[in-house]
């Protein structure tokens, strides 16, 4: 996979976040402050523009770092620093290589998750984006270990993220605004986990297009 894969990934995220903007905002209105869709849309819109301004020569890792910086400087809220850190760490993990394979991608996603946990200190089950990213990464690892082709592995990862997001519904939030609601946060799907699933689905589609 190359720079073009990252371009495709980011533009696909931007599109699907824009499509689901109001849905994400509604989820956040229920247990947060009703801005998550707007935040993600503003951020990935800026990312798409920033990447479009780059010439093809930029290596994949640097593009991810740029995406992360752009998110930090345009999103704000909790998701800005978290997603920003995630993509910066992923970019650092890919380094300056012109190409990357499934294993590189897995390592990058692991680095991203580590960054999110370092900054936000969320445990699995705290009802955050971590509850979608974690299972997705595990599924990706398992599939690759089982020798499945990358497309299949990413499909599994995307499905796991999707399931992980849905699995946040019965949880009581322990991090972020939703935690202020205590038990009232139970019964609602976490907006950040939901957009994390969108990010993984976009990755799958981006890679499919490539091949």
């Amino acid at each position: 996979m190359h720079t073009t894969t990252i371009h495709a990934w980011m533009t696909t995220i931007a599109e699907s976040v824009k499509d689901r903007r109001d849905y994400l905002t509604q989820l956040d209105a229920a247990i947060g402050d009703g801005d998550h869709g707007v935040n993600m849309d503003r951020g990935f819109d800026a990312v798409a523009k920033a990447l479009a301004a780059q010439n093809g020569a930029v290596p994949p890792g640097k593009l991810l770092t740029l995406a992360g910086k752009t998110l930090v400087s345009t999103v704000g809220g909790a998701s800005g620093p978290l997603w920003g850190t995630a993509f910066r760490r992923a970019g650092r993990s890919l380094g300056n290589a012109e190409e990357f394979d499934g294993r590189d991608l897995l390592a990058a996603l692991r680095a991203a998750l580590e960054g999110v946990v370092e900054l936000g200190a969320a445990q699995p089950g705290d009802k955050t984006m971590v509850d979608a990213l974690g299972p997705a990464i595990d599924a990706l690892a398992d599939s690759l270990d089982a020798g499945e082709p990358l497309e299949r592995a990413l499909a599994a990862a995307s499905a796991a993220a999707e399931d992980g997001a849905r699995a946040t519904v019965p949880l009581q939030a322990r991090k972020g605004r939703a935690s202020y609601l205590g038990e009232r946060s139970i019964g609602h799907q976490d907006p950040g986990a939901t957009s994390a699933a969108l990010v993984m689905a976009a990755l799958q589609r981006a890679v499919e297009q490539e091949s």
Binding site: V38, G76, A78, G120, S179
Partner: protein, 339 residues
């Protein structure tokens, strides 16, 4: 007249521009006090940076007059407003820190919300990389949220206004970085808050209320982002609500017997002053009955959730220094005395 995207009860042009346009309007009205840096989206105290410790705060918009209305003499040197209910980004905070640093260091007043904390953290790291000393003061006075492993910790609410006024006076009189930060922390330690909502509010971006609250019900233990509170209850009388607020803050603060206190009775934005002063009367009487002396007070809508109907009580246990700093002159768009 179709310039407004979603039809709603809002006085604005493009919802996406409301924060920037409002900041520009504030600066136009109060050019003697504040300057608006449109590029960095920050409000800075007019004139050259005073040779003193800088005081910077910021957070999501929608809480006006906080923070922009508190920039001026004897309070904040700069404010970085984010989008409505969304913490600003580190670049804004860094620009504000640079703008006000006079070599004596800068205090960041940070309300305890995940987003605010993370973004200010990144900004403080960048500022220190640039050789600016930064002291971050975390405000977490909302007793509706227990500080435990199971939450993001207490929210920062009304104590923010008091800390900005009092620490601002300390900076103005020439205290050093550690002292200004220490005084802000002392205010936070000696203050507790509790809020009640009688309605939700309408963020411009969505154009519809965050939640519905039927007549005759109230949300208790709310924050300042139009979110539901800890619990929904039948609407109480002003007296019952006053009792609820006082019990919550006094039991947690446990002030000394006969302590001098500053009750800050704050409107959430949509509650008429007529009602706010009814509540103030109920609160001051009950404080007296508990042997507490209301030696200073603040009554008004100073930290709001857009047009939310409701109110919060912040109780600050005074000491002589805090009282003197509270009385010190302040001249900002929203808070002014002695000048």
């Amino acid at each position: 007249m179709a310039t407004v995207a979603t039809p709603m009860k809002k006085l604005l042009n493009d919802p996406a521009e409301v924060v920037k346009e409002s900041l520009a309007g504030l600066a136009a009205a109060h050019g003697d006090l504040v300057r608006y840096d449109a590029e960095a989206q920050i409000l800075v105290r007019a004139g050259a940076p005073a040779a003193k410790v800088g005081l910077v705060s910021g957070g999501g918009s929608g809480h006006e007059p906080m923070h922009g209305g508190f920039v001026g003499v004897g309070m904040l040197d700069a404010a970085c407003p984010g989008e409505v209910f969304t913490s600003p980004v580190p670049e804004q905070m860094l620009a504000a820190t640079n703008a006000v640093d006079a070599g004596k260091g800068v205090v960041h007043i940070v309300k305890n919300y995940t987003g605010d904390v993370m973004n200010f953290k990144l900004a403080a790291e960048d500022a220190e990389d640039e050789g600016i000393q930064v002291e971050s003061v975390l405000i977490d006075d909302d007793v509706a949220v227990q500080d435990s492993l199971y939450t993001a910790g207490r929210r920062g609410v009304g104590a923010t206004v008091l800390a900005e006024k009092i620490a601002g006076a300390a900076a103005e009189r020439g205290d050093d970085l550690a002292s200004v930060a220490g005084i802000a922390r002392r205010v936070n330690e000696r203050a507790r808050s509790y809020g009640v909502a009688l309605s939700s509010c309408i963020p411009p971006a969505s154009g519809s209320p965050i939640f519905d609250l039927p007549d005759g019900e109230m949300e208790v233990g709310i924050g300042i982002h139009g979110e539901p509170g800890r619990e929904r209850r039948p609407l109480g009388s002003a007296g019952e609500i006053a009792e609820l607020m006082i019990e919550a803050v006094v039991s947690d603060l446990a002030p000394a017997d006969g302590a001098a206190v500053l009750p800050f009775v704050n409107g959430m934005g949509g509650t008429p002053q007529l009602e706010l002063y009814v509540l103030y009367g109920e609160i001051e009487r009950r404080l007296r009955e508990r042997g507490l002396r209301s030696e200073r007070r603040l009554v008004g809508s100073y930290i709001t959730s857009l047009e939310m109907a409701g109110a919060s009580l912040t109780l600050l246990e005074l000491d002589d220094e805090l009282t003197a700093l509270w009385d010190a002159p302040v001249h900002t768009p929203a808070l002014r005395w002695g000048a």
